[in-house]
Symmetry: D2
């Protein structure tokens, strides 16, 4: 073969990797056994974050194209699913880290001050590239999050914050979905009818539920009526824009329509892979949210009510950020607009034909 | 052998088990493929809940004894760890359930109304037997949680609510810990000194942290001083009782002392297993919290903003319950009172001798 | 709503489910604490097996059709992936079962004799419906495997053994793959050329590998030449049929071609989902193999060298069955015929056009 | 505080870690997307191997002492359990690696030749330090395993092979177990009687099992009688030494006795932690075995029947090594000597007293 021989150790640069652990507790001549676990856990996190960024960048460059070829979709979907797979595994790693007890952590905790996971540049990059904006974030120690980063990283972060994210690219891609405006079929009109029918049925259900006390009935009916009003978003662009300005939606009117179309007609060959892409994004968001939450619990366990290594009350911040830092919330909320399959309008053959192969 | 032959199918009563699935969607002649997954997932949950209750009851009967023999400790610890193992596995099962998409769920969701996981008697029993009291719970649909149970189960639940829980039994057991009052060694006095020294050092740290803006310094110092004040709880029974009445602690003064002693001196042979028991309880609490949180996320994904199957806005309730329903919160908060191992007072030989074997 | 109210307990038939545990050790008045865990673990297995069979049957009925519509492919793929997800979770359950120690097992082991997991009808059904034939199986206690089943189940098993399996249906489906015979492009000829080029290069690699001792070089070169000969299977139907008759392949000549085509051109829109279907089958086979192997290890740990509960030396049988009972071995071996993407012949536009959407 | 400020990035040497990936496919200007995943997966393996070695060395230094203090036992046990936890997580990582398909691997496989996981120095160290001897190993490419290592590592490996392993240290520690020779109680005599009784009962069971054909009965009875003969090992040192020389046992007569004593009387306070230590070693062995087996499956999937990257037919070697490289096989086989708890001789109070605390 044309390639020179390679040895496992050289190829993987193992010497470099396994000699990059320098516990502070050794430096200060107060060796703390568990500091190595702490270092290695975080180093493997960062290696996996690099991998996630690599996959993310490749998916980004696919979706940033003015036109995404169908033969790139399977790969994009597989790479997003790989990110899910990595995130799940990395979430499980916390089990290993938690074999370190709070007392073991105390042996070296003070030596790390004020280092903290909040300073992970790559994690912040992942969030940002997925689509978390400056304004979506909880402020930390009353200054913008990027101030926690190393100085050399702050400029790059600000630059990335300006670039279109996966959320942005996806929104554009959704807006370009064909079939949104099919001259020969007014999908949204028939959908609107189906929705109204369904909600009237739901309201009846509550009315007839004898287990619910009257006050609850009233409250639930009110809530159903409010939900129905939310549907205005689907059918009235102006209503939607108001709701959106209030922060209840982030996707554009058209993109939301497209996402709903993909979800409802996911069995059409042309939507099978796009459906998986949306599902992978939901999985990514969900697993990152679990990761934050699990860290909040661990911080509570490790630190009690004491201040975090970074000088903030760690677990409260984390618990709050958990719910706030979801990026594809619209895809979660989109479910509100689903109606049972039996009531979904049937596509006319002229349209379903165009969604299929012809060989 | 004296035992008659047994066949796998009969022994495991498989016919009974695998014929106990009757999808509503079949009953109503609108077969929804994913309803079986929904049923089986919940049935396996309930089977595992039965197992958890069985282990829990066995641990309860051990700790309810006026005197727990040392040779029962290894077993109690193993059974609590088994509960952790079950809970982790059951948490992972949500990955399987989430292969059901919201649209698939819609195919039969309405047929289940108002059935809901809130009605799981066994889960409520687990929480209650661990120590979750009526008053600790978030109310649901403005009525006490046990009203959601089947009528036949409500009376039993009220009875169990009256019985001493594992929390209660454990508290008594902790209070009986020997070594709390050793005539020849005033542990708490030397511990108090060590604590004060440590906090003064921490305050200095913040003062000298140039990265923190002045306002943050002040805030953090204030927070450290507040924390130090919390330590009064350890040294002043009256101060403790006030804090406790305010809801910040649930364990008694003596039990808290004992738990701290076990944590700090866990390497002493006599405390090696008790330490594992406390750790298992933390793991149980943490995994149950994760389970609730994961369900909240799933509810959001499955239902959007729509009302839950039980008629409440599911994911909000779940997310709120998540943080509120932790039972052994004191063990989490106890970490606040840890000091680095190097500063923990050394036990006099007279005491450490009594904590060891002599063969 | 038109549906009557439903309660969680009734809907899930919980009373039936959680009252179907009758430990033999209770019956014989020698209560063994861990028998309940043993029962419940196996009952949840069987519940999940029911679910797997349900998904499998649905996929079977899809692939048994004379023509599989493209809009059923996404669903079939999702259901196979669900089976993978269930199998992985069920594999993890062994961690829970292994919290039972061999000594705990001994407390009731004799009471179960000769019951054994070999008697699980549903597991055997899963294997058979996937495509494991009578002759593929290791015999157990020198009688055919179905003799271990309950008598009422033996007839059904023999019937299912006669029916076409997923392997069979898939083979037919693969044989129908369009594009296998494209008049305007001789794929196999250009592929054959690419293969020959690649192997010559590999042989050179070995020749030039200075780390290998001469004897090894020779052996490796011989082995490469043997592998190249295996490629005859792809290009010479008669050679293939001989190899196949010797038991080295199970798929037909045409089906193997189709599977290879899907693997190599998986990025073509028309193959994106078929590729996932093959991958899911590999995952199913791999996870079932891991499951058998893990059981072999557990049997060794639980029973030492002693005979299994069914009267055979359990772990040896299991370890042997592990490797022998793989069903889609051809898909594993197919990799042998892959060549690097850079060397895969480019499809002419006339063909790749027909593999794409046109909207 | 006395410690200077620390930043997350500097502390964790992240720049060094995430800049140590240099794909060969980039070097050769034929970028293969999945090579980064391949590199990072293996780098995280090696980071975890470093951690495992660190824990292992600490446990080794504990057990190499002429006398292990009881207050070090809890820690040793926790560290072995941490190794189990790491191994389980690392086993799960294969799910991530398998998101790389064989075709993706082919894009760069040839560039790595003959690098291979067989060359991992740290993995070999783990095996060796646990107790895998040169002679226990399958030879690889007909030369001793250490020849695959980088030259600089071969000398160190030979040195470590000479040092006492954990197996050796543990054997010595077991041999020192008190209570083995209690003047006032002849444990082994009463155990021998219990064993004989039990086996006679088992033989009866087989005789009376009507489902077994006569030939099987005979075979099983023969096998039980053979097993009973194995018990000679427990009671006749000379018989044991013959069996041991034949390779059926590795532990010394005394050490085997001690391990059995710990297993049978694990509820005695003095044995609660030693029991956990043995269990952790079984878990380590089992998980490492699963790891090898899973790699064998993956190799089959990735490479088909083709030679591994190191020039050997990978998956066959791995599958064979899987079963052969178990280290604590004696602990697995020890189960053969267990008898039901109800038949285990009761300890006289004089002895059980010495196994307990007295405070």
């Amino acid at each position: 073969m044309k390639y020179p021989s390679v040895h496992y150790s050289d190829y993987l640069e193992i010497e470099k990797i396994i000699n990059a652990q320098h516990p502070k507790s050794d430096e200060y001549k107060k060796p703390a056994h568990d500091e190595l676990l702490f270092i290695i856990t975080h180093q493997t996190y960062e290696l996996w974050f690099k991998q996630i960024l690599f996959e993310l960048n490749s998916v980004l460059s696919t979706f940033h194209q003015p036109q995404v070829e169908e033969n790139e979709m399977g790969r994009a979907s597989a790479r997003l699913e790989r990110i899910v797979s990595i995130l799940k595994m990395v979430l499980g790693q916390i089990d290993v880290l938690e074999t370190m007890t709070p007392l073991d952590f105390l042996d070296f905790r003070d030596m790390l001050y004020p280092a903290s996971g909040f300073q992970s540049f790559q994690w912040r990059l992942i969030e940002t590239k997925l689509g978390l904006r400056m304004g979506d974030r909880l402020s930390y120690n009353q200054s913008p999050f990027y101030k926690s980063l190393a100085e050399s990283q702050q400029a790059e972060m600000l630059k990335v914050l300006e670039e279109p994210s996966l959320f942005d690219a996806l929104e554009k891609w959704l807006e370009r979905t064909p079939f949104l405006q099919a001259d020969d079929f007014n999908f949204w009109e028939s959908y609107q009818k189906a929705v109204n029918d369904m909600f009237q049925a739901d309201i009846e259900t509550v009315k007839n539920n004898d287990r619910l006390p009257p006050e609850d009935k009233e409250k639930n009916i009110k809530s159903l009526q409010d939900s129905l009003k939310t549907f205005d978003a689907l059918f009235d662009e102006q209503a939607f824009n108001e709701i959106r300005q209030a922060g209840n939606f982030r996707l554009s009117y058209k993109a939301l329509h497209a996402a709903l179309l993909i979800q409802l007609y996911r069995d059409q060959p042309v939507f099978q892979i796009p459906f998986r892409i949306i599902r992978a994004l939901l999985d990514i968001d969900e697993t990152m949210t679990m990761w934050r939450y699990r860290h909040a619990l661990m911080a509570h366990r490790m630190l009690g009510q004491k201040i975090g290594t970074g000088g903030s009350s760690g677990h409260k911040y984390l618990a709050d950020a958990t719910s706030k830092h979801k990026i594809f919330n619209d895809f979660f909320n989109l479910t509100t607009f689903f109606i049972p399959r039996s009531q979904i309008p049937t596509l006319p053959k002229s349209i379903s034909d165009r969604m299929n192969f012809h060989y």
